[in-house]
């Protein structure tokens, strides 16, 4: 696996996805919600009885799949970015505090991380989202709060060595407070690494959101989501396989793009997630 190949694949997949999400809403046919009773389950590249052309066909309610795919992508990307932002902030903060102060603070924070890892993430998300009710904001926050551990662990590990470095010690002897040291000396040094973790976690979160939506616990109708579209298409698998396959392809393009991006960032053999999983 050469470095450059991953990078080319990542950039082209993500470029396709971003162009698709941005350009589709600008098209004259864009209508993710409009139902057409004369055009239910129109196959790809055919027209409905009332003569409207659908490039990717329609779903059971006669809604344009192309438009829905694009809107669902925007929703997924938005939730993903929100969740990554939440988990990055929480994870970096807790990780740096744990690594800088050590002692009981570190034991407490890392204990919390271990505890969170001891409940499978999907189950925790199902339980909480079933109870507080899913919405786009709730999902982004929930997914973010359950994903901070990867950042926290890496940030703590880096803080452990950074706190012993001369520039931190020198600042401390000159009376710098812990908050100042963490903000000015630790944070800038861990951020690049955190963005690598983030690119890997982004893909994971997109899959997690899609899985929740597939189970009916994620994005709620009328807003479309790829996971929900797959679940709707499952009943028509024999009749109209494209209903379930098209959103799956969209998911694959985005997730594979993000996966190769994080692979291009890291050296071969150590993807950011491995360290999280293998303790």
């Amino acid at each position: 696996m050469t470095f450059d190949l991953s990078r080319i694949v990542a950039v082209s997949l993500l470029a396709i996805m971003i162009l698709f999400m941005v350009l589709t809403p600008l098209m004259p046919f864009y209508d993710p919600y409009g139902q057409n009773l004369a055009g239910s389950l129109v196959p790809m590249g055919e027209s409905s009885f009332d003569g409207k052309f659908y490039l990717l066909g329609t779903d059971t309610l006669g809604r344009d799949i192309l438009s829905r795919l694009a809107l669902a992508g925007q929703v997924s990307a938005l939730i993903g970015l929100g969740a990554v932002a939440v988990s990055l902030v929480v994870g970096v903060f807790l990780g740096l505090v744990a690594g800088y102060f050590r002692g009981p603070v570190e034991t407490l924070i890392m204990g919390l991380a271990d505890l969170q890892l001891s409940i499978p993430r999907v189950l925790l998300l199902i339980a909480v989202s079933a109870i507080i009710g899913p919405s786009v904001t709730n999902l982004a926050i929930l997914l973010g709060l359950t994903s901070w551990v990867a950042y926290g662990r890496v940030a703590r590990g880096m803080a452990l060595s950074l706190r012993e470095r001369e520039f931190v010690l020198s600042a401390r002897t000159q009376g710098a407070t812990a908050a100042w040291n963490i903000r000015k000396h630790l944070l800038p040094n861990v951020l690049p690494q955190m963005l690598i973790v983030g690119s890997y976690e982004f893909g994971q979160i997109v899959v997690m959101e899609a899985s929740l939506s597939y189970l009916g616990l994620g994005v709620q109708p009328p807003l479309p989501s790829w996971g929900m579209m797959v679940s709707e298409g499952q009943s028509y698998l024999a009749l109209a396989p494209s209903l379930a396959i098209l959103p799956s392809i969209a998911l694959f393009i985005l997730v594979a793009g993000l996966q190769f991006l994080s692979q291009a960032f890291t050296s071969e053999g150590e993807v950011a997630g491995v360290s999280e999983r293998s303790k």
């Binding site: 001891s118 189970l215 396959i245």
Partner: protein
């Protein structure tokens, strides 16, 4: 070894206590159990009476210890939809989930093992890259999408395998393949890395110097050492696999705990949801403990940590 064992068991018990605490808060989040148990037209008096009967009028801290005591007895309350204990509903489904998770686990490891050996033995760079790209591609497909594609190919088009339910071995193939291959890329990369590490060890050079062949050195000398990290990570991932059963069971209508949890969510049957989540987390903790202890037995270096 004893210190290591005691430390690890205590750690696990602490984790279980944490999971119970999380469950307690989840129950509180779900709303007043007295209200959930009654119909919508219940009067304030009725609610107060049920609150007293359920002990909800006592201080929070007493309720918390009471909750721990109930959990330890396996009592998660009665299902809100069926008049049976929530835990008994969950326990009924455990064999199906274990069957799926363990088969997927063995299948995934077996595939990684075979493909890893092929990647090491083949001289062709193309074959190596092909296997890795396929594994990476698989990882980018969510479980439900992959499951549906499998159903489409093997059930709808080829009509070789059943698409849903549990019973015969043929029912198990598609779900296990779907769940078991998800972590293939991770296993392969790990196996490759540890084989590469062993390759540089002195004992390998000695074996070659004695005149042993490539296959003999690989299978007889390197494999036992290289398998250790693979098995550990796979063991830890068995927990993730348990999480993955939720989606897999839903795709294939597999009658396990995960599907029960998802069904209970749509029926808002909170005692069953929480009992299910607790039981799977408990299995996860126990599996991790077993893996760690086994690892400590196999590799003395671990005990030092």
């Amino acid at each position: 070894m004893t210190t290591f064992l005691i430390k690890r068991v205590l750690q696990s018990m602490l984790t279980v206590l944490g999971v119970i605490t999380a469950a307690f808060f989840l129950v509180r989040l779900a709303g007043d159990p007295a209200v959930l148990n009654l119909s919508a037209e219940a009067s304030g008096e009725d609610i107060a009476r049920v609150r007293e009967a359920l002990g909800l009028d006592r201080p929070m801290i007493i309720q918390y210890f009471d909750f721990i005591w109930n959990v330890l007895r396996g009592d998660f309350g009665v299902s809100l939809r069926q008049n049976v204990s929530a835990m008994s509903l969950v326990l009924e489904r455990v064999p199906a989930t274990l069957e799926l998770a363990l088969t997927s686990f063995v299948l995934g490891l077996g595939l990684a093992f075979i493909l890893g050996i092929i990647m090491r033995m083949t001289g062709s760079r193309f074959v190596r890259q092909l296997i890795m790209w396929i594994a990476l591609g698989r990882q980018a497909i969510p479980i439900f999408s992959f499951g549906l594609v499998m159903i489409l190919i093997f059930s709808v088009w080829l009509k070789w395998l059943p698409s849903l339910g549990r019973g015969t071995l043929s029912h198990l193939i598609l779900p296990a393949l779907t769940l078991g291959t998800y972590e293939l890329a991770l296993y392969l990369r790990l196996f490759n890395a540890s084989l590469a590490t062993e390759q540089r060890q002195d004992y390998v050079r000695t074996a070659y110097a004695k005149g042993q062949g490539k296959i003999q050195v690989l299978l007889g000398h390197m494999l036992p050492n290289a398998l250790l990290p693979l098995v550990t990570v796979a063991g830890i991932n068995l927990g993730l696999l348990l999480g993955g059963t939720v989606v897999t069971e839903t795709v294939f209508s597999w009658p396990g705990v995960g599907r029960l949890i998802v069904q209970s969510v749509s029926q808002r049957d909170f005692p069953v949801i929480i009992a299910g989540v607790f039981l799977i987390s408990l299995m996860f903790v126990v599996i991790n403990l077993i893996v760690d202890v086994l690892y400590g037995l196999l590799d003395p270096r671990v005990r030092m940590v």
